[in-house]
């Protein structure tokens, strides 16, 4: 049995770091904050690795099947009988895998930041935010209750807000962090309502029970829930689709991806941690966590998941080919790779051989974390050296940044899917799963892998080759970062090169039974050949300074321009929010309140005043007038008595 204390410590250690550094950091630990944070995370990483070892090799497997354990379940907030938010820990293959990924990548970022953020005025604040983020992400991964997941989900959102807006006096950073939070909040609204729908149908918030109740088609729960339909779809379909909207927002899927490229305003190590390796996979994890519901009860929604993933993958890849900001290229590449994971889930089925998409998706999540973190940290080293994000300012850097150069190349080969690097294995499995289930998605994926190789090597050649004499002044450029920055690069480089050899299907599959993945050489020819073509094209265009790329862009004309402007999706959003929501809803609402509702209140006041002004004149104090009133009264009363009552 897993040990609840050990596992609970994994998220609690970063939390301790957050509280300690957040409350006392600026006063007590101005210098040592980085070391404290890193030490705590090192301990958490060791515990996570230990947990993974114990789970996968000691107690996890019973009769050849990996078991699911649910621990703790402390009641946090009870709503009504049987429905409460319980803080629990779920231990199954994907949560254990994620524990390792999150702690390891976070540790790398912690170490890297020791060098990268040195001399920063709010050094301890930075480390406390990192702790908060790691805590939230680990809590999300371990959540056994769907509302617990939502709680940490929001926690992840706010930590990313804080970290993107870390340079709070830069207007662009402020705008970016607001955008990230609001766009994901909009998606979270879907998640929230989805939870309400699903939990009401299932009568529980516990994920395990919820899945169990919603996936047995004969049960009354499912029957009543499917009988209730709204706009032609059953309650469960709505619930699952709404939950997916939440996942799509956090995972930057089209059309909710607009926050991700802007999120690069944060410090670069943060981009590596949040916007590449961990937070953005939360949506994938959510779908994977509820996968039985999606695949058994609402296959229609799962198909949408697949298409959204595939569309996002290719759209992002096209945009990435045109961007010149190194971090933006990587951001779009993240979106594209997350799209791979999403559609791998979308084409998967429940159980056995047909569930290979699920395993492939998780595998890709794992390898992607390695090479994407590496790419971002490498980009950080480049930016640190050049003091610019624009690839136009770079070139010929291979002589100055040898370690960065080699590790960056490994990462590029990995993401391009060239054997034997990590990305090759996971992407191959994804393509295979798509091939078996959905040919259209397979073709999209194939084209996207070619594009991936092209834009990654466009980046690589532009940074490290191209101009032989760098344009930046050598005097201002420092050395390649110190030991703290190089160590993570090397470690991640090893990971990106070798992680593919892990027999992933042995450990992670939807039903816990080992899945033997077969790499088919014939099948691999097409994607690898396409990848190599992409690399060759990039080599031809970008290795040396020439005007071929400009001519190519010119020949593509409008399409290139549209891709360069990210297909104007931001502008559409801007139109909707500024023109419609602000001017047509909010402004009239504010006006209506001040003028109509409050106007009525003031009208009541003034009309009472006016009435009293009128009545006031009656009390004039003149005896003659009172005599007339008196006389009139007597006459009227007398007349009434005489003519009416008699």
């Amino acid at each position: 049995m897993p040990n609840a204390t050990t596992i609970a410590l994994i998220p609690l250690l970063p939390l301790a770091g957050f509280l300690l550094l957040g409350l006392f950091g600026q006063k007590l630990f101005k210098k040592s904050a980085g070391l404290i944070g890193t030490a705590l995370l090192l301990a958490a990483t060791i515990l996570a690795l230990y947990t993974a070892y114990e789970y996968f090799f000691v107690y996890g497997k019973v009769d050849g099947v990996y078991q699911k354990f649910v621990l703790l379940q402390l009641t946090w907030l009870e709503f009504y009988k049987g429905v409460s938010i319980d803080m629990g820990i779920i231990i199954d293959p994907i949560s254990v895998m994620m524990l390792v990924v999150v702690t390891f990548i976070s540790l790398m970022v912690h170490i890297y930041s020791l060098g990268y953020m040195k001399g920063e005025k709010r050094f301890s604040t930075y480390y406390s935010f990192l702790g908060l983020f790691t805590f939230s992400m680990l809590g999300l991964v371990l959540a056994s209750n769907i509302f617990q997941m939502y709680i940490f989900w929001e926690g992840v959102g706010v930590s990313s807000f804080l970290l993107i807006g870390f340079y709070y006096d830069k207007p662009s950073a402020v705008a970016a962090c607001k955008k990230a939070f609001i766009v994901t909040r909009f998606a979270d609204l879907g998640f929230l309502i989805g939870i309400l729908v699903l939990s009401y149908s299932a009568g529980t918030l516990d994920i395990g029970t919820l899945i169990q109740r919603l996936t047995s088609p004969e049960s009354n729960v499912v029957k009543t829930a499917t009988a209730y339909s709204f706009l032609g779809a059953s309650a469960l379909t709505w619930g699952a689709a709404l939950v997916f909207i939440g996942g799509a927002g956090k995972s930057a899927m089209f059309p909710l991806h607009i926050w991700l490229p802007d999120a690069m305003e944060g410090p670069t190590p943060v981009s590596a941690l949040i916007h590449a390796a961990t937070m953005v996979v939360a949506g994938v994890y959510l779908v994977a966590r509820l996968f039985p519901v999606f695949s058994i009860t609402t296959p229609g929604v799962l198909e949408i998941v697949g298409w959204v993933g595939a569309l996002s993958a290719i759209l992002a890849a096209v945009i990435a080919c045109t961007q010149t900001d190194i971090k933006r290229v990587l951001a779009y590449s993240t979106m594209s790779q997350i799209g791979f994971m999403m559609f791998a889930l979308g084409v998967s089925k429940y159980g056995g051989e047909a569930g290979s998409g699920y395993t492939a998706s998780m595998f890709h999540l794992f390898t992607h974390a390695m090479f994407k973190a590496l790419l971002f940290l490498g980009a950080g080293a480049v930016i640190h050296y050049v003091h610019s994000n624009d690839i136009k300012d770079m070139g010929g850097l291979r002589k100055y940044l040898p370690i960065t150069h080699i590790t960056f190349l490994i990462a590029c080969l990995a993401i391009a899917g060239i054997p034997p690097f990590a990305g090759f294995f996971s992407k191959e499995e994804i393509l295979h799963a798509a091939y078996q289930n959905n040919m259209a998605v397979y073709w999209i994926a194939l084209i996207t892998s070619g594009l991936t190789a092209f834009y990654m090597f466009r980046l690589y050649f532009s940074i490290f080759w191209n101009k032989e004499t760098p344009t930046f002044a050598k005097a201002t450029a420092g050395k390649e970062g110190g030991f703290a920055m190089m160590l993570p690069l090397v470690l991640l480089g090893v990971g990106a090169a070798a992680a593919g050899f892990i027999p992933f299907g042995e450990f992670v599959s939807i039903d816990g039974k080992p899945l033997v993945s077969k790499i088919n050489l014939v099948f691999s020819i097409a994607p690898v050949a396409l990848g190599l073509t992409g690399i060759m094209a990039a080599l031809w265009l970008y290795k040396k300074q020439n005007n071929r790329s400009a001519r190519l862009a010119a020949s593509l004309g409008g399409f290139y321009k549209a891709a360069y402007h990210k297909f104007y999706i931001d502008e559409i959003y801007l139109f909707i929010t500024k023109k419609i929501i602000f001017n047509l809803i909010a402004r009239p609402a504010a006006w209506f309140d001040r003028n109509v509702v409050d106007g009525l209140v003031n009208l009541t006041g003034t009309s009472i005043q006016a009435a009293s002004e009128g009545i006031k004149k009656v009390q004039s104090g003149k005896v003659q007038q009172y005599a007339i009133y008196f006389l009139t009264g007597v006459i009227v009363l007398a007349a009434l008595f005489i003519y009416i009552w008699k």
Partner: protein, 492 residues
């Protein structure tokens, strides 16, 4: 525990303030008095829990009963259940913070503190009253100080605002009075809340009386469309005045809507529940949209209060135990949060002499403590987990979703949509004031919070976090009491 202490202590403090000789004495007496009151409220919480743990299942605990006027059956009857304990606790937190924030009031210090304590006295008395006559008496005690606080120590169009607020609240009181008298004469000449709750009042009479009571109390708690005193009142009130108005006074109304109107007249509540739901759903979303356009920090919080209080009324209108618990959680949460928000706005205004969002920027650099608190309260307002707002809103949503017909579903979804709009206006406010470059050179000389301001903020933040991180204790306090109200509604 003797509940008379809860009323006696403010009376003594008020007298001591009147007799004190200089400003220092006034301030320290008020501080000690409110500190003692805070201690008393916490002691009450523990005493209450102890009694419940010892299986004392009486509806009201620590009851006391004195005859005031036998001929008309008017009694001084007090007692507390979980709801009252929570409200007393809320009041003591806000009063404590309000006293601390007002430390530098120079103009007529003695009178200012006297009125603050008088207002608090009214609130304490109101929350523990079990007799409608004294309940109304305490409600009125709390109205007059507001008028003076705004009229004398206010800013901007203070006379207009003070008049508006006092007249609208008086109008609400008039409706309440009619409602109470209606109850008295139709239910056997009694003002006693507990005995009224056991009387069967004919349905058609309930239908007539209910609107009087609900709208009357609704005016206090900014029921749409009777909310327009809120923006004007808050924007003109001094800091502590705003804190008390939003943190305590609006809760008097919410408490009355539930305890008096809904609890005593369940048939009336059922009859008008849909209207309540429609009005509160409108208030939630429309208030949030209206907030988006505000430029003055106080107006932002005032409109946002209209939106947030809507959750309380929505929860009441849903008539399920969970939703009512959520409504109560929201009252406590919003009370703490909004008091803190006004406190922070006051601190910023004292330094920058502006409340206009557009004129600020980069305050984080100049006053990190105040800015961090601003951050926290903003995140609480937009319902971030770990802070109290989330707990309350989520409970309302869960409770609302239990009523499964399309009307209630749509109302819940409309209310839920506000979480996005709230995020927009909160982040806009935070982004323009706390973050960004420092716009005004003069701001660079400003100082961060003083000791009294720090403590005021810490007390309220502690309350918000205590509910947000471990909501169980408050939930367990409120839920059984909500169940009692629910039992009467469902006719058990």
């Amino acid at each position: 525990m003797n509940l008379l202490l809860l009323i006696g202590l403010p009376v003594l403090t008020a007298l001591a303030v009147l007799l004190s000789r200089n400003k220092q004495q006034v301030k320290w007496i008020s501080l000690l008095g409110s500190l003692a009151q805070l201690g008393l409220a916490i002691a009450l919480l523990f005493a209450f829990r102890q009694e419940r743990a010892a299986n004392n299942t009486a509806q009201m605990l620590f009851e006391q009963h004195y005859k005031l006027f036998a001929a008309l059956n008017i009694n001084f009857h007090i007692g507390v259940d979980g709801i009252s304990v929570a409200m007393v606790l809320l009041t003591s937190f806000v009063v404590m913070a309000g006293v601390l924030v007002s430390w530098n009031i120079e103009k007529m210090t003695k009178e200012f503190y006297f009125l603050l304590i008088l207002l608090a006295l009214g609130a304490y008395g109101f929350f523990i009253s079990l007799d409608l006559f004294i309940l109304f008496f305490f409600l009125e005690i709390s109205v007059i100080p507001k008028y003076l606080l705004i009229g004398i120590w206010g800013s901007g169009r203070k006379e207009y605002s003070a008049n508006k607020l006092a007249l609208m609240l008086m109008g609400g009181s008039a409706l309440i009075l009619v409602g109470i008298l209606g109850l008295y004469f139709t239910a056997g000449h009694s003002f006693d809340l507990l005995s009224l709750s056991k009387t069967n009042i004919p349905g058609n009479i309930q239908h007539i009386i209910f609107p009087f009571l609900f709208i009357g109390f609704g005016v206090f708690t900014a029921l749409f469309p009777f909310h327009t005193w809120v923006p004007d009142g808050h924007s003109s009130a001094p800091t502590a005045g705003s804190m008390f108005l939003a943190g305590i006074s609006m809760k008097l109304g919410g408490y009355g809507c539930l305890r008096v109107a809904t609890y005593l007249l369940p048939e009336g509540a059922k009859e008008y529940a849909n209207i309540i739901i429609i009005l509160s759903a409108i208030a939630i979303l429309y208030g949030a949209f209206a907030t988006m356009m505000q430029k003055d920090l106080k107006y932002i919080n005032a409109y946002s209060s209209v939106s947030h209080v809507g959750f309380s009324l929505l929860g009441i209108g849903m008539l399920t135990q969970t939703a009512i618990t959520g409504a109560l959680l929201q009252m406590v949460s919003h009370g703490l949060m909004t008091a803190l928000f006004f406190a922070v706005i006051g601190m910023i205004y004292d330094r920058t002499h502006t409340r206009m969002v557009a004129e600020m920027g980069g305050l984080m650099k100049v006053m990190p403590f105040i800015s961090t608190v601003f951050f926290i309260v903003g995140l609480c307002s937009l319902g971030l987990p770990g802070l109290s707002g989330f707990v309350a809103e989520i409970t309302v949503f869960m409770g609302s979703w239990q009523v499964d017909d399309t009307f209630h579903r749509i109302a819940t979804i409309i209310a839920a949509m506000s979480i996005v709009v709230t995020a927009v206006y909160i982040l806009r406010a935070i982004g323009q004031t706390v973050m960004g470059p420092v716009k005004n050179e003069n701001f660079l000389q400003l100082k961060d919070a003083t000791w009294n301001e720090k403590w005021a903020a810490i007390i309220l933040v502690a309350g918000i976090v205590a509910i947000g991180v471990a909501p169980g204790w408050l939930n367990n306090l409120l839920r059984p009491a909500a169940q009692v109200i629910m039992d009467r509604i469902s006719g058990k």
